[in-house]
């Protein structure tokens, strides 16, 4: 589960990770108030207004149809008002949002932490995540902060350091010190970094997170170490033991159809294509999407109905797929193992009749237990449904209805 920057920073703060402070605002007036408070608490006259959406690249992204960046420095209160008016309620397009962009309903008014001082401010990168290959958590860090980590990895891989964490000990003291030294820090900044990484790992562990990415980590001109941005992904499977974190879910960031599908216990992901699909099992569902593509279509969705493909789930699935106006055909692909194909077929016929008129052709491929009986049920139903048993036949039917 992804959360917003301001939520992630609140978590970090709770675990003792130093952050760039800020206040969330939903209107330009609130933003101005927030800026006044930031002026008072930080003593700095500048603030940064940061769009809160679940996507990266905000600083380089623009509000649709304007020159307004998603993250902008405001040197006075008038600028705070102008920037937040430009941003709030409007759509931000970044490299990660796709062309459609995302509507911004909150901004974070944050203190300016790049103030001048005894030394130059310097940006670093740090993330904690699971390394699948070793089944251990790993801390990835580099002196090349503020940049896209994949680009750093591609062009200067030698600058990326990794520290694997033994699950029996957790992050050890010597590892934390090693990280601070590898980042070239000395004196007070070194000590601050040891504290920073130790608290960061604790926060990651205790929140059951799947990823923490802090980019940039900033050494300020007075040798403090701060998280200036934070991207946090919490393990959905662990939310049952973190009721407080589960509440951070922002459904407005999700596709409304996907939220609806979740209520029917369907695993649905909206895509941009023209052929909808409904499948039992995640792997077969992905494979079915691939078949659609190979047959000349584009998948309109991923939909796994799970092990119980009955009339109710099938009907809910049809309704969700049909709510997408781009859908020109639907491919149902069920491999009946424990689920019997004749039951699934009956479910499809019942769902079809309940919905009434389905305007697009439906291809039903049933294989496995009682596949022949299932096919016969579909063929005898008199509905506008094409039936198949072999996967190849289904692929050919998709081709046929699209041409």
């Amino acid at each position: 589960m992804n959360i917003h920057e301001y939520q992630a920073k609140a978590i970090l703060n709770k675990y003792g990770v130093a952050i760039q402070n800020g206040i969330v605002a939903t209107t330009p007036e609130e933003a101005v108030e927030a800026a006044k408070q930031m002026h008072a608490s930080s003593g700095q006259s500048w603030v940064v207004v940061k769009s809160q959406i679940h996507a990266g690249g905000r600083g380089k992204g623009n509000i649709v149809g304007t020159e307004q960046r998603g993250v902008a420095l405001a040197k006075n209160l008038d600028a705070v008002k102008e920037i937040s008016t430009n941003i709030l309620g409007n759509v931000l397009v970044t490299i990660q949002t796709g062309e459609k962009g995302k509507k911004v309903s909150k901004v974070l008014v944050a203190e300016d932490v790049y103030y001048p001082g005894a030394s130059e401010p310097k940006e670093y990168y740090m993330s904690v995540l699971l390394d699948r290959q070793t089944s251990q958590n790993v801390i990835i860090y580099t002196t090349e902060g503020g940049m896209d980590i994949e680009e750093v990895a591609e062009h200067t891989p030698e600058k990326i350091h990794k520290e694997w964490i033994d699950p029996l000990t957790g992050l050890t003291g010597f590892q934390a010190r090693k990280i601070a030294y590898n980042l070239g820090l000395s004196g007070q900044a070194n000590k601050e970094m040891v504290k920073f990484v130790t608290a960061l790992y604790k926060a990651y562990e205790e929140t059951d997170s799947a990823m923490f990415e802090i980019n940039p980590v900033l050494k300020t001109s007075d040798d403090k170490i701060l998280a200036v941005d934070a991207k946090v992904d919490i393990d959905d499977n662990a939310l049952y033991r973190h009721a407080d974190l589960a509440e951070l879910r922002d459904e407005s960031e999700e596709d409304p159809t996907e939220v609806e599908a979740k209520k029917s216990n369907l695993n649905y992901v909206k895509l941009d294509g023209n052929v909808g699909c409904m499948v039992n099992g995640a792997g077969l569902a992905m494979a079915t999407m691939d078949i659609i593509k190979l047959s000349g279509g584009e998948p309109a969705n991923f939909l796994d109905v799970g092990g119980t493909a009955n009339a109710q789930t099938v009907e809910a699935g049809f309704r969700i797929i049909l709510s997408d106006p781009n859908v020109k055909a639907i491919l149902v692909n069920v491999f009946g193992g424990i689920v019997r194909c004749d039951r699934v077929a009956q479910g499809i016929v019942d769902a079809y009749n309940n919905i009434g008129n389905i305007p697009v052709p439906i291809i039903v491929r049933l294989q496995g237990t009682n596949a022949e009986e299932g096919k016969k049920l579909i063929d005898d139903s008199g509905l506008k449904v094409f039936s198949a048993i072999q996967l190849k036949e289904a692929a050919d039917l998709v081709k046929q209805v699209l041409s």
């Binding site: 699971l130 958590n137 393990d235 992905m286 996967l391």
Partner: protein, 292 residues
């Protein structure tokens, strides 16, 4: 031979008396699998499906000599159940449970590394050696005995592959559903290695999906050590980046996670990669007839 499970395997069911455990244990027994008992804490001493119920895995092992366990315990307790089985000396642990927190699995992996056991799953359909033992939730009738091994991250796609293999006039030696989670006990390479070393397996179907690098590691191992033909398929060629496709592990995070990247590496390593999942059976039949 055959790998992991066979007709002599003695299976204990953890989470035996729950609805999932009851249903699938009955199916396994019907298939002819030697289910020797089950474990449900608090119900020890009773009997279920005409088999003894134990409070702990250790009691079950002591009383029955069980060497394989299958786990149907809910996600919050499944990590503990795996460690209990490992501690009791179970050799092959098959965990069906979907939805175990990653943090629990990090601990479990570290724990079982020090014990002589093999974990299959979690979030998997299990393992089947046709006509000998079905330790999982797959429809047994699809898997006819033969000499093609299957390794797959996905349940229904495993059944699909097995069905095509059988319809192509071949059969299955052992099918291993390794699971779709980010952390699994037996990754692709390890499962492929088992089948490469199995004298009853002549060829291997390797089915992967987007996310992680297990398929790439397996492909490189096959290039160096492979002695049998391999047909490969990767699901999710059309999956968008950054979206989780059903399985907790099926997400394109970086460029190496994509189906295209994996298929390229697999092809470079000599694996016969099919673009369409409908061609798995036909491709295997062609490969084997060319060899013969």
């Amino acid at each position: 031979m055959s790998v992991l499970v066979n007709k002599d395997s003695k299976i204990i069911v953890q989470g035996f008396t729950g609805s999932e455990g009851t249903f699938h244990a009955s199916q396994m027994i019907e298939y002819g699998t030697q289910v020797v008992g089950g474990v449900t804490p608090g119900k020890g001493g009773t009997s279920h499906l005409d088999r003894p119920v134990f409070n702990t895995v250790q009691e079950g092992v002591n009383a029955t000599g069980a060497d394989v366990s299958i786990i149907f315990v809910p996600p919050a307790f499944a990590g503990d159940a795996i460690m209990e089985a490992a501690d009791a000396g179970i050799k092959v642990i098959v965990c069906i449970t979907e939805g175990i927190p990653v943090k629990d699995m990090v601990k479990v992996k570290a724990y079982i590394k020090k014990r002589a056991c093999t974990l299959i799953g979690p979030n998997c359909p299990g393992v089947i050696t046709p006509e000998e033992a079905k330790v999982g939730i797959m429809p047994g009738f699809v898997f006819k005995k033969g000499r093609v091994g299957i390794v797959s991250k996905s349940g229904t796609l495993t059944y699909e592959a097995a069905d095509q293999i059988v319809k192509a006039g071949l059969g299955v030696s052992t099918a291993i559903g390794i699971g779709g989670d980010p952390i699994i006990g037996t990754p692709t390479k390890e499962a492929v290695e088992l089948l490469m070393n199995d004298p009853e397996t002549d060829a291997i179907v390797m089915i992967g999906e987007i996310g992680g690098n297990y398929e790439a590691l397996a492909a490189r191992w096959i290039k160096e050590n492979g002695t049998k033909p391999v047909v490969g398929f990767i699901a999710g060629q059309t999956a968008p980046a950054g979206r989780r496709m059903g399985h907790a592990g099926a997400i394109v995070g970086g460029k190496d996670d994509t189906a295209a990247a994996k298929m390229k590496i697999m092809a470079e390593c000599g694996i016969h990669v099919v673009e369409s999942p409908a061609e798995i059976g036909a491709a295997m039949a062609t490969l084997l007839s060319a060899k013969a």
